[in-house]
Symmetry: C2
Subunit: 435 residues, 2 copies
């Protein structure tokens, strides 16, 4: 007897199988019971006739509470009406643990209640589908960079207190000294690309921002590639390739999951078929806002609402480049500008379509020691705290570029979610540290 | 003209190529210069005859400082003496940035100096080889679980203050509340395996332990699988399979890197050829210590020195199981014992050979609600803080098991390192938060 899983049960048509899992829902009559059964890989209907199993087993089934753990033996038979094409005709039912009063019944529940019961909510079909898509997106990202011969360099989480002056940092006592939790591995990846040519990190990052919006988590995963001898043009192409890879892979590997969450496929297919994405300058984006009647001045930074307006003009992700240097960090490479024009930097953000906004931010880094020192002085940063980072310009300085993609925002867009809280199993928000 | 990388340069024999990178070392005469050149993927010798390039280029080469960034054009020719089988006959040299007084010269440096300059030290051949092996081990681990149909569920880093009472936790202010940095994703993976059947997490974990040993980091990556309906025997097999996969993959994918760090291959080959690993009980291990003349009593916990003695008896990783429950956490499954025998748990640790000691710890988890509550009371834990975890025993409780493998300890063993500080690009130790 083989021991298959529900996801691949079509391979076992005609076979007698044994499955361990949980009862999800039971209905039926005195003659036949229909059990919705899950094993963690999928859901299947188990049909149990009163004459096929013992009367004790039949009674057990009739009184089975949702999420009771059970083992099932039975024959896999074709069923065209089943979403997975098969059902199981039971020959044996074994109870492992009976569950009564499972909190998440099929009726509607409020979001707070579901979030409080996140450890159980992740058993529901929709949450399972989203988390499987997240897993597949993670795989696509790693495969993309590995196949391009990048070296994975895990960035540290603990960074010294001097490194950034921002108020959005979580801090901890580190053996008598203050340490901050990393907001980005970029500075470390700049060192890594000078060693390995092409490097990336992919791990959790942290923002102590008290933003209660549909786009903000306090803890989120970010992938950050950095490449020596790459310019802004190459950076855009690398980012474009990553998004194309993610969208194409997910359409191929997760059709069932996308169907379960009822994701409209057309917007994703349009992206998958693209060869490249539209590119507009920051100034073009400002014009879009003005045309839309927004009160927005050149030099202001985009908020979430502005991003939504800009990206709604396009069916593809849109690359916005050359922002004013005044609103960007010191390490951005200064663009050459005509006299009289305001100073911009060689950066780019990518805004996802369907109103999702920024999922990627990056650009070329300043490689000239003196220009970098001046930019640091302007932003009132203490040069001494960045000595190791400045070393990268003293010893073998190179043109280089990179970007960061936020995993949860990408998952949110790909899944078409209304809030980023469903993109992870145990999301962390300003008001949510449990379970 | 193709744009290849040094690692695969053998494919380009006879071709004219263009490479961007850094000069590592220069020597020669007035007629010919030999430049050791690196591009991040490897090292190659560039031969530049005085008549092959301009006199300006030749003079530039002669005065080139270590780690100057340069672009090279030239022809790839076979050279049996080269470690990569080829060298380059230069036709053009272009300076990007000249470097003077690179701090890490070919002479010997002290460890503190090298660690202070870790951002530059990672450019050295030995450090590059170790970090490439780490990348490949990470890949092997992810492939192993993905191919076994596990779902990746990223565990949260922030956990509520009530969750563990230990003094080895880093804490941070979380919007007015205390949050701790996760030491393990296990409890969350137990919820995940009840949802997905087979789940794993793989991310950074934290220990605020002021241990200045060759085995301890304050921040390290851990992979933690957890499987529903799996017992201790299955857990051992899963862990065995993982170690075999890592060792076999690294021998196949990283022969050059292992050669660069002069790793003795025989001990790894012995492991790669094994079908399974020796299994001894905790009591057997105690006997080994007593036979070695150690003053060790049944019921004591093993320290690093004890582990070294035990694992030195074996050429393979050794699985030590059934420790006394008194020295193990509350969630471990109680083993059935004969009357009069002391209580043990269904756990296992795996000790790596060659003196490396523990790299894996895991076992079956207690699935009975009342036994679990009693164990929590004994260890003076507040039941209220674990309500969500206890829910996993209230709703669809199942036998289940899992383990954790510490990435850096595995890398340390595979690479044969004397200290865990070289296993990551930017290691964090009690006395090391920089660079």
């Amino acid at each position: 007897m083989s021991q298959p899983c529900i996801r691949n049960l079509k391979k076992n048509i005609g076979e007698e199988v044994s499955l361990s899992g949980w009862g999800w829902n039971i209905r039926g009559s005195g003659k036949v019971q229909f059990l919705q059964f899950r094993d963690g890989t999928g859901f299947v209907q188990v049909v149990a006739g009163a004459s096929d199993i013992s009367s004790e087993e039949f009674d057990l089934l009739r009184s089975l509470g949702q999420e009771s753990s059970v083992k099932i033996k039975g024959k896999v038979v074709e069923n065209a009406k089943s979403p997975i094409g098969v059902e199981i005709v039971a020959s044996k039912i074994e109870l492992i643990s009976n569950t009564k009063n499972y909190p998440i019944s099929p009726k509607e529940h409020g979001t707070d209640f579901l979030m409080d019961n996140r450890h159980l909510w992740i058993r529901s079909p929709r949450q399972q589908a989203i988390l499987r898509i997240r897993h597949n997106i993670t795989k696509s990202i790693r495969n993309y960079f590995d196949e391009l011969d990048f070296t994975l360099i895990d960035a540290p989480i603990f960074t010294p207190n001097e490194c950034e002056g921002s108020s959005t940092l979580f801090s901890t006592d580190y053996f008598g000294e203050n340490a901050f939790l990393s907001q980005s591995g970029q500075l470390y990846m700049e060192a890594a690309c000078a060693a390995f040519g092409k490097a990336y990190c992919f791990g959790p990052t942290f923002r102590a921002e008290n933003s209660n919006t549909r786009r903000h988590l306090t803890e989120f995963w970010m992938v950050e590639p950095e490449v020596a001898y790459m310019d802004l043009e190459g950076d855009m192409e690398l980012a474009e390739g990553l998004i194309l890879r993610i969208v194409r892979d997910v359409l191929k590997t997760c059709p069932n999951e996308l169907a379960i969450i009822e994701r409209s496929l057309e917007p994703l297919q349009i992206v998958a078929e693209a060869k490249s994405f539209p590119r507009i300058s920051y100034s073009d984006a400002v014009q879009i806002l003005k045309n839309a009647g927004e009160n927005f001045e050149w030099g202001d930074d985009f908020g979430g609402a502005h991003e939504t307006i800009i990206c709604s003009q396009f069916k593809l992700p849109v690359i916005v480049h050359n922002y004013p240097s005044s609103i960007k960090p010191f390490y951005m490479k200064q663009a050459s500008v005509q006299s009289g024009e305001p100073q911009t930097v060689k950066n780019m953000d990518i805004l996802a379509p369907e109103g999702y906004g920024e999922i990627i931010g990056g650009g070329e880094r300043e490689s000239d020691l003196e220009i970098l020192k001046n930019a640091m002085a302007k932003q009132k940063l203490n040069e001494k705290d960045y000595e190791w980072y400045l070393d990268l310009r003293r010893y073998g300085s190179i043109p280089h570029a990179g970007f960061g993609l936020g995993l949860e925002r990408a998952v949110s867009w790909i899944c078409g979610l209304s809030h980023v809280r469903e993109t992870g199993a145990f999301p962390r928000l300003p008001k949510r540290l449990r379970p």
